[in-house]
Symmetry: C2
Subunit: 392 residues, 2 copies
């Protein structure tokens, strides 16, 4: 793409009300636009990064047997009342509205209920299981505060996967596969060494749940890690009992701040019992389905990458999620020979199948071009100017 | 994909409250799931059709210089008040809610306002224009009635494009390009001969607007067409003045029912003036930007294709949007040789890069398999059974 055609331009400053580093840099680079606190539009550069993250996640979800769907944002009050999660006292992030006929509706902040209710249409016999489905969904959550840029928004893209299994054993097998798939994802997007499978509180159904936490100073969570033993514990379950159970000592662990980039829940059969989601086993006995849910914040991941891999005025995208493969920066383009050389390079790389951004803008200083390129942060950069002529 | 792995199954009946033919067939085939009136989830088969439609639309939008973005669903009251479109008396399809601090928010039913307001960040000089942006957005509209399946929903996917031009002349050039791009799209998805550029009422800014109407008995609109002259007029502007202006006679026109599949609006400079979206020309004079908007209902298109190309119990997807390229139907799979032959065929086609659904299900009668295949409606079918062995 010719940079002269890109409608966004970099900015010297972010909006004054923007306090998070990730949103500041992404706004200045032209990746996102702030519609209101906690709600950001994706601009062409942001679309490209998010689409690359989604493609990696999709590949890993497909590889473990996931089938892609997309549920609705509109939610039925009656359904969520069945599981006790309509009440604002229980779930404090609902956006609610009503149809013309007065019927109350909510906007999807999570989708365990509608997906599981839908599965009653497709699960009858033990032969129908297991089923794994996932979606990339725009979640709407009425957060009290939204100060962390795209790390915690009122509107954001999440990949959520749901597993429907015969029993705990079948569930456990898929659960373990998903942990590996998630680790693959975090490795591929560039968060390799700093992302830990972390023991966290398990809620009603299990002693522990697993979170994926990426070490970062701006994280909202505190975790205790041992890089050597590859173990991590959320402070909410950091106690003598947990340490003993996991066989680690206090002195082996380092306290760090971290951002939750993924989570895995074991719902057991509780939600299926509430919703009446059952299958008949080989003896025609009716048995509730075993449910797991697995989330990754897609737009949050973009924010985490910025928090991890940026300096002042500069983003450094990992290669696999870089908005373009190569940034050609043309300097002295008033010189015909230089322009010809740059255009040839652009054509050569594009013909190879690379996605190239070519800074073909005239009357922009080299300093400004480099400053823009720093903010855009493409993983590979080729500079073509007068010096390139002699090095031919 | 192995059909035994597909979690959806075809259904003999649609929900009793479903009265539209498109939704009935799509629910029965396992393409969509009805969450509530006017809100449907996309299941794996439906995702595949919609993704193929989106890819065609994306290619055509990119070809005319469109840059893809995605705005937020959450909308600011203050912004829409600026153009007088927050009031429920003016716009009767708003879903509204509020933040924890009491601030009112709406959910996007259209995006002219936020996109144009955003453009104030990126448009300063005449050198910045033209700009063309588009998005695939889940629109939320609080329709009074939702009885037409996915033809008119409360939640649906729309491709909307917005053009920002220097003046009427630059606008007109792009407007004409977009008409051609839209015709390409309708041709490619299989609606070639029955889709007409239709003269409709122009609203406040122009005498006529252009709609794209596909002839269909279930259409909500009445239009008058001449296939010979390739002209169509919406009944709302069907009068002597229009006929004279377009140089057609009443007796040349046929009255038909039609579904609006796309529309194009010329907003002139009115909205830019309301929002303060201006550029400086070469003499530093401040001039309001010329705005056009261009919509295609993506999920609606899927519904139109079903209405056009289905019979009772049977969908016939056009090749370009078929959920799979080929459906291999394996019969008598208790016979090892037949199974081997079918598996070889599946591998052969998959290796060629085709996307194949292989009905590998055991203990399902041939009659049931054919009935299922009819409802799924893949454009090419290969049957492999005992007869295939002798024909080797």
């Amino acid at each position: 793409m010719l940079q002269s055609q890109l409608f966004t331009k970099t900015k010297k400053d972010a909006p004054k009300d923007e306090i998070s580093n990730n949103a500041k840099l992404l706004i200045r680079g032209g990746f996102i636009y702030k519609e209101m606190a906690g709600a950001y539009a994706l601009l062409p550069l942001g679309m490209k990064v998010v689409n690359k993250i989604k493609e990696i996640v999709k590949q890993e979800m497909d590889a473990i047997g996931g089938q892609e769907i997309i549920m609705t944002s509109l939610q039925r009050k009656e359904l969520w009342e069945t599981t006790g999660r309509w009440d604002d006292e229980k779930v404090d992030v609902w956006f609610k509205s009503e149809l013309k006929n007065g019927q109350k509706v909510g906007f999807g902040w999570s989708h365990e209920e509608p997906i599981s209710d839908m599965m009653k249409q497709y699960i009858n016999s033990y032969k129908d299981l297991p089923i794994y489905v996932y979606q990339f969904q725009t979640k709407l959550r009425n957060e009290l505060r939204a100060k962390s840029g795209i790390l915690r928004g009122r509107e954001f893209v999440m990949k959520d996967m749901y597993s429907y299994c015969l029993d705990q054993a079948q569930h456990q097998k898929f659960y373990d596969q998903t942990i590996q798939a998630y680790l693959n994802i975090f490795k591929r997007v560039g968060l390799k060494d700093d992302t830990f499978v972390t023991f966290a509180s398990g809620g009603a159904f299990t002693q522990f749940s697993h979170e994926f936490q990426t070490v970062s100073e701006v994280g909202e969570d505190t975790i205790y890690i041992s890089r050597e033993k590859n173990i991590a514990i959320n402070e909410e379950v950091y106690n003598d009992e947990t340490l003993e159970k996991l066989g680690v000592k206090k002195e082996d662990l380092e306290q760090v701040k971290a951002i939750e980039v993924g989570n895995i829940f074991d719902f057991g059969t509780v939600k299926s019992e509430q919703l009446g989601l059952k299958y008949n086993d080989a003896e025609s006995k009716s048995i509730p389905v075993y449910l797991g849910s697995y989330g990754i914040g897609i737009t949050r991941l973009m924010g985490v990458l910025v928090e991890k891999f940026s300096q002042e005025n500069k983003i450094n995208w990992p290669k696999e999620v870089s908005p373009f493969d190569v940034h050609i920066i043309g300097l002295s383009l008033d010189n015909e020979e230089v322009t010809k050389l740059a255009q040839e390079k652009y054509k050569e790389l594009t013909d190879k199948g690379l996605d190239v951004l070519f800074d073909d803008r005239l009357n922009i200083s080299a300093g400004q071009k480099f400053a823009d390129a720093d903010l855009i942060g493409i993983s590979e950069r080729i500079i073509i100017g007068k010096e390139s002529l002699s090095s031919q």
